[in-house]
């Protein structure tokens, strides 16, 4: 702005009107806005602004022009043009930062899983100075490491008709048409490159005898596009990204802060300029300045207390930026995975996933008679003693076409329905059987016939069949036996659904930037690619796509304007305020001298979430969840007891901070589920189902992303809607009958 504040630049006017600079330029060219040219740059008089605000025509025009109907206040920056060319066109036209300037720019990355480690490595390699943070003792511990199955890529090495478009289409459809087309297409487009990159880094993928990469099929798609490294794909990919990160640490381009927790983001003049962190070893509160902050801290499944997430997985980084202005999108979209080891008692601290591949051969059932179920729970009856006629193979009964291979959300809900009706089988009544007996006999007979042995000798057939099952699922059976202490070759496995992944997350535009300029979100932390339901083997793909190939390009578009900013000072009032906020929180949380433990509150929250915002939801329960969570939150602050001090290692204190944020997120989660009056993907509202009990989507009214805006403490958050426009696919309802 000029000295007396009378003239505005194009950028300033765009900010005032909440429209893009392009729009302003177009209006200047068409004469709707009058500007003066001073030394080659446009200046618009302040008087014009007030008159402009009254010209309805321009405002309506502006909103349509930036693709935002119903008043969504941000530009998703999806490039125009053909779906297939959007990404290459965008890469070719966005702003870049020259190599000489990159070395003057600092970037903070919070989280070192697949997304965070790959982004840190690539940004550092490009020349930026990176500070990477993780709460674990080493970046290699991030929970990406626990992913089992594989990573999708549209390589079409199998020649079975795969393509970028097919991967894109499967992902959009699998997400129940609640994700952004352009983002998903880009994901499919860069997927093949991920495999090239990882192989070059020395990631030991499974290979065939010809020495080429092997694939398997996964999660109900029609092609084999999943690359894998035994049941440890996540581990190998993460160690690949970790090695790339280490290389940059060795070059001095990444400074690594392990055992550090991000406590808040610092926003200066509307831009993210750094973070406040806590050193988890000595308790020191630290200030870190940067020209951009990247959040890669994963999902928030632990709001349910029990989930397949790691114990330390948390929402804190995402929640802190939300409270400073970043929209939080679709918080109620959570994936509940059908094949997990059931809860064994009140002591349970976390849940373990069994790969989805087991459903290829296992048949899921519960007893047909409720009396039998009771006897099983009391250990008066064994499952193998129940005759075939008294078993209810409920998935095969309800979904004859797909049977045991229905998608994750459908299988999970069906298990819950049976257990709620009283047919559950383990001591808690919250489990169903996954039975391999039929598969063992089937494989055994085939083997006996093909090797010329007696197919009527039942013992022989069983032992042959077990060998085949062992070759396919041996490691999973062993893991099951270790945890449950039952032999799944002899007695059916017990399984139950568990919270696994969160599709919702921080809202980002096509550049992966949040609604706070300079603050980005990648990987599971953002909302962008999986809609209302994620397909198997797609989480690893998205994390690495964001970190290696998308963010390193798109961040330049923002940072191009930062080359003259100079180093970010941390001795400013904004840093003072953020730090004192953190200190106040710690003081408050440490002030109770007795009371209940952090885990007590976390478990209570988890129970509310699971009972009322879990696999199926209804308005009444959601309303009561909101009330209960509010009350629990108040009790938490007045009664939580954190022993020890704040000036050293104190895990209770770290947990208290995380649970405090979960207690706020949980409420928003329930509110989002309440406002979405339809059933789609992982979100099932009991009021919106077909006569047969299937999910009923409402495309007319709910084809949008719910973007929640924080309005201040104890104020109702504001719902903004980003409309989703589908131009390349037709919206269809999913049927598995």
């Amino acid at each position: 702005m000029d000295k007396d504040g009378q003239m505005l630049s194009i950028k300033e006017l765009a900010d005032v009107l909440n429209v893009s600079q392009k729009t302003i330029r177009r209006h200047i060219n068409s004469g709707k806005i009058k500007s003066v040219k001073v030394g080659g740059v446009h200046r618009i008089s302040r008087e014009q602004v007030s008159s402009l605000l009254e010209v309805e025509e321009i405002i309506v025009d502006d909103l349509i022009n930036i693709g935002l109907e119903r008043g969504f206040p941000y530009d998703s920056k999806v490039p125009s043009g053909d779906l297939k060319n959007k990404w290459s066109k965008h890469k070719g036209t966005i702003n870049l930062v020259s190599p000489a300037n990159k070395r003057n720019i600092d970037i903070i990355v919070v989280g070192t899983g697949l997304a965070g480690a790959s982004a840190s490595a690539t940004l550092a390699e490009l020349g930026y100075n990176v500070k990477a943070f993780c709460f674990q003792d080493s970046p290699r511990r991030a929970h990406s490491i626990a992913a089992q199955g594989g990573i999708n890529a549209s390589k079409n090495y199998q020649g079975d008709g795969d393509s970028d478009y097919r991967l894109f289409y499967d992902t959009i459809k699998g997400g129940d048409y609640r994700s952004r087309e352009a983002n998903v297409y880009r994901l499919a487009e860069v997927s093949a490159n991920i495999i090239d990159q990882c192989v070059a880094q020395g990631v030991p993928f499974a290979r065939d005898y010809g020495g080429l990469l092997d694939n398997r099929s996964f999660g109900g798609v029609l092609v084999s596009r999943t690359f894998y490294a035994k049941g440890q794909t996540g581990q190998q990919l993460l160690l690949g990204a970790y090695s790339a990160l280490n290389r940059q640490v060795n070059r001095g381009k990444v400074e690594m802060f392990s055992r550090h927790e991000m406590m808040d983001v610092v926003v200066v003049d509307g831009k993210a300029r750094g973070i406040i962190s806590r050193n988890l070893v000595n308790g020191k509160i630290e200030r870190h300045g940067a020209h951009a902050v990247v959040i890669a801290s994963g999902g928030y499944g632990n709001v349910f207390y029990l989930s397949t997430n790691a114990m330390g997985s948390n929402v804190t980084a995402s929640w802190k930026i939300h409270k400073k202005g970043a929209f939080f999108a679709n918080p109620c979209f959570t994936q509940i995975h059908p094949t997990c080891i059931p809860v064994s008692g009140d002591h349970q601290s976390k849940l373990t996933l069994m790969s989805e591949s087991l459903r290829n051969d296992g048949r899921i059932w519960v007893p047909k008679n409720i009396e039998d179920a009771k006897k099983i729970r009391n250990k008066e009856l064994k499952p193998t003693e129940i005759p075939e006629n008294d078993r209810d193979y409920y998935l095969e009964r309800r979904y004859p076409a797909f049977g045991n291979l229905v998608p994750r959300d459908v299988a999970s809900r069906a298990a819950k329905e049976r257990c709620d009706a009283g047919y559950g089988v383990n001591k808690t009544g919250q489990a169903v059987y996954l039975d391999f007996a039929a598969a063992i006999i089937r494989y055994g007979k085939e083997k006996a016939i093909s090797t010329g042995q007696d197919k009527d000798n039942i013992d022989l057939v069983k032992s042959l069949g077990k060998e085949i099952i062992k070759a396919k699922y041996g490691n999973l059976f062993q893991m099951y036996e270790k945890i449950v202490d039952e032999n799944p070759y002899e007695t059916p496995m017990q399984i139950f659904p568990a919270v696994h992944y969160t599709m919702g997350g921080v809202w980002v535009d096509y550049n992966l930037m949040t609604t706070i300029p300079g603050c980005f979100a990648i990987g599971e932390a953002n909302f962008s690619d999986h809609g209302a339901n994620r397909l198997g083997a797609s989480a690893l793909m998205q994390g690495l796509a964001d970190g290696y190939f998308v963010l390193p390009y798109t961040i330049g578009d923002y940072l191009a304007d930062e080359i003259k900013t100079g180093p970010i000072k941390t001795d400013t009032k904004e840093f003072d305020e953020a730090e004192s906020g953190v200190n106040k929180f710690i003081e408050k949380i440490m002030s109770n001298k007795s009371g209940k433990s952090v885990d007590y509150y976390h478990r209570k929250l988890g129970k509310i979430m699971w009972d009322k915002c879990g696999m199926s939801r209804n308005a009444e329960d959601l309303r009561s969840a909101i009330t209960e969570i509010k009350a629990l939150r108040e009790e938490f602050y007045s009664n939580v007891f954190v022993p020890g001090g704040a000036d050293g290692y104190n895990e209770e204190l770290a947990k208290a901070g995380r649970v405090a944020d979960f207690l706020e997120l949980g409420e928003l989660f329930a509110l989002d589920a309440l406002e979405r009056n339809e059933s789609c993907g992982g979100h099932f509202r009991e009021e919106y189902q077909t006569e047969e009990g299937e999910a009923l989507r409402n495309d007319e009214e709910f084809t949008f992303v719910s973007c929640w805006e924080h309005m201040g403490k104890d104020k109702k958050p504001k719902l903004n809607k980003e409309e989703l426009n589908f131009k390349s696919v037709e919206l269809k309802s999913r049927s598995y009958k």
């Binding site: 790959s118 690539t122 390699e125 674990q136 003792d137 080493s138 970046p139 290699r140 511990r141 929970h143 626990a146 390589k155 860069v190 090239d196 990159q197 192989v199 070059a200 880094q201 020395g202 030991p204 993928f205 499974a206 290979r207 005898y209 020495g211 990469l213 490294a229 440890q232 996540g234 581990q235 970790y242 090695s243 790339a244 280490n246 290389r247 690594m256 392990s258 790691a310 114990m311 064994s344 008692g345 002591h347 349970q348 601290s349 976390k350 373990t352 996933l353 893991m479 270790k482 449950v484 202490d485 290696y548 190939f549 390193p552 007795s594 433990s597 022993p643 050293g648 290692y649 209770e652």
Partner: protein
């Protein structure tokens, strides 16, 4: 179940530690070992005391964060099992269990059972990678076929979770199984061979600098490794190291 626990408590790296006795009751045999410690910690918090600090995260045996020497054995009595996958049915009511941190000169105690294993990160930073740009401009993944036996061997070595049980079990606190696994993974893949010489020299140099001891072939590391990383990796490390030295 009821158990007597003898646990190493140490306020911080500067102060001396000691074994303290605790009793826990109502332990369910289906609990994991760490869930048993959760029960103890909840009891401690209830009585106003500080809980026992221990490292843990994924609790499914893959992240490598949990440690603990249980009755003298890193990760406890079960073979091929991390502490988080050990279950209480392995013990009897009335048992006394000693719980200590992973010890080693290069693994200083941070608090109680938590140790600093950042030396492992620094060894990896010194050369545990392939120097390839991550911008995606590389050759097609199938351009270089890798014989299946090589790929399988590389995979076996890559299964290391970096927990440090090898160091904790070794009377010399040697990290050679850990270093050997990484060196072997890359030395068996064409992508890793290019820098094999510099890698092994740099990683061994850093390993020595961190204060890890030498290998005297007791085999304790392999016996206690939760992922079954084979002693062959140490053999291969020596082979690679000598090769690199000769070529100098």
């Amino acid at each position: 179940m009821e158990l007597k626990l003898k646990i190493w408590r140490q306020k911080n790296s500067g102060e001396k530690g000691a074994i303290i006795d605790y009793n826990v009751k109502k332990i369910d045999p289906d609990m994991s070992f760490l869930e048993m410690l959760d029960v103890l910690n909840q009891d401690l918090i209830k009585s106003g005391e500080e809980p026992v600090a221990f490292d843990h995260d994924c609790r499914e045996g893959i992240c490598g964060m949990c440690s603990l020497v249980i009755n003298g054995s890193p990760h406890g009595p079960d073979k091929g099992t991390t502490t988080c996958q050990l279950h209480m049915r392995r013990f009897k009511s009335g048992d006394t269990i000693y719980i200590e941190p992973f010890r080693g000169t290069a693994f200083p105690v941070i608090k109680d059972l938590v140790v600093d294993r950042s030396a492992f990160d620094r060894i990896q930073q010194s050369g545990g990678y392939v120097s390839v740009n991550t911008s995606g401009n590389t050759v097609d993944a199938n351009a270089t076929p890798i014989p299946k036996p090589d790929a399988d061997e590389a995979f076996k070595a890559a299964a290391c979770i970096g927990c440090g049980a090898c160091v904790a079990s070794c009377k010399n606190s040697s990290a050679m199984l850990f270093v050997g696994a990484k060196v072997s993974q890359y030395s068996r893949l064409p992508q890793g061979k290019v820098e094999a010489r510099e890698r092994v020299l740099n990683m061994v140099k850093q390993m020595d600098k961190e204060g890890f001891g030498n290998c005297t072939n007791t085999g304790a590391c392999e016996a206690h490794c939760p992922k079954g990383i084979s002693l062959d990796n140490i053999l291969n490390l020596n082979r690679e190291y000598i090769k690199a030295k000769i070529r100098k």
